[in-house]
């Protein structure tokens, strides 16, 4: 049995509205969900480094019971979000301790992780944990809301330095952010005197990602509102295509092939076959 975490049946799953927010934005931010005493421990753990684990490891094999990372993943808010996004028993793709050195003078180019990924009904998530307060000058992670469905390859987007509506992470200690694997992001230049730490784990789903969250509010009008979000960096024409792809992803996640936003998918898939009589 490779599953873990899901034995806690009372973990707080995401609502449909929050899931729709993730589908539109490509990220989910949980501020200060890790308690201060764990953050102090986390700083030491990250300074020491976290040994690599084989690709595809189950969580119990990668992080033994009682270990810092396992306890991080068992925090209710973290466990509930992870379960809602990728389901029970995810595989650990890989993890990495990211450091941004003080005054190092460089930023990461804007990129999506791994290679171009054309999956339309499945996605990985990347957990990013920040054990310390992150100020603007510490070079917190840059991410571009709504960029996760773009078909680009790794750092081919490195030419883009700034986009309207970008997110330059400033957060309290103990913040965890989940990213869709396709989201454009990068570590910013650290202009402060402090080393900035971030711990990333990428998770692969091992089950079909369909209705894994608390779907009791699936009919809430705010679901469609979230899914209709546009971002300031979207070009006028391509922004409409973003809505189209978001509808398709929501259909895949809910199993509801009739779902649409303002007829976007319906009208361009409408090919009546009835003959006139």
């Amino acid at each position: 049995m490779t599953h873990t975490l899901e034995h806690t049946s009372n973990i707080p799953l995401l609502s449909s509205v929050r899931m729709a927010h993730f589908v539109a934005h490509g990220s989910l931010r949980l501020d200060a969900v890790v308690p201060p005493e764990m953050n102090a421990e986390g700083m030491e753990v990250l300074r020491a480094g976290v040994p690599e684990v084989p690709y595809g490891s189950c969580v119990p094999a990668a992080y033994p019971a009682g270990s810092f990372v396992r306890r991080l993943l068992e925090l209710p808010a973290v466990a509930g979000a992870l379960r809602s996004l990728v389901g029970p028993g995810p595989a650990v793709d890989h993890h990495y301790v990211h450091l941004r050195e003080p005054h190092e003078g460089r930023a990461q180019p804007l990129h999506a992780d791994a290679i171009i990924d054309v999956r339309t009904d499945a996605f990985d998530v990347q957990l990013m944990y920040y054990p310390q307060d992150v100020t603007l000058d510490m070079g917190g992670t840059l991410s571009v809301p709504g960029s996760h469905l773009r078909r680009t390859n790794e750092s081919d987007t490195g030419r883009y330095q700034n986009l309207r509506g970008q997110s330059r992470l400033v957060c309290p200690a103990g913040t965890v952010v989940f990213l869709h694997h396709g989201l454009w992001h990068g570590g910013r230049r650290n202009d402060s005197d402090a080393v900035r730490y971030m711990f990333k784990i990428r998770f692969n789903p091992t089950v079909r990602q369909r209705r894994l969250w608390d779907t009791s509010d699936l009919g809430d009008p705010r679901v469609a509102e979230e899914l209709s979000t546009t971002f300031p960096w979207y070009e006028h024409a391509t922004g409409r295509l973003e809505i189209y792809h978001r509808v398709l992803l929501w259909r895949a996640l809910t199993g509801d092939d009739s779902f649409d936003l303002d007829h976007w998918v319906t009208r361009v898939s409408n090919q009546p076959r009835e003959e006139t009589v």
Partner: protein
Amino acid sequence: MNVRQQILVLYLATSALDSEVVGWSAYDGTGRTSPTTGDSDEPPYASGVDALRDGWRLFQAAQLIPPCPGGEYDVSFLKHEFFFEKLVDVGAP
């Protein structure tokens, strides 16, 4: 004159040069500044024409290329990319 290029790249909302800026990058051949990823939330100009009015010289605009058959709905790179330059005298070589 001992000149160096400063390069400004603007990504616009449509293929029109007077449409609004949605993204921007800068590269400084003088070495006086070091623009980089995620260094500003505010665009330097509201539109491509505003950059022209400030003395930037446009030297490249993205072509309008029809989507490949089957790829009409794909979303990928920003399409409306405009390159500008300024020539700056950096003094004696």
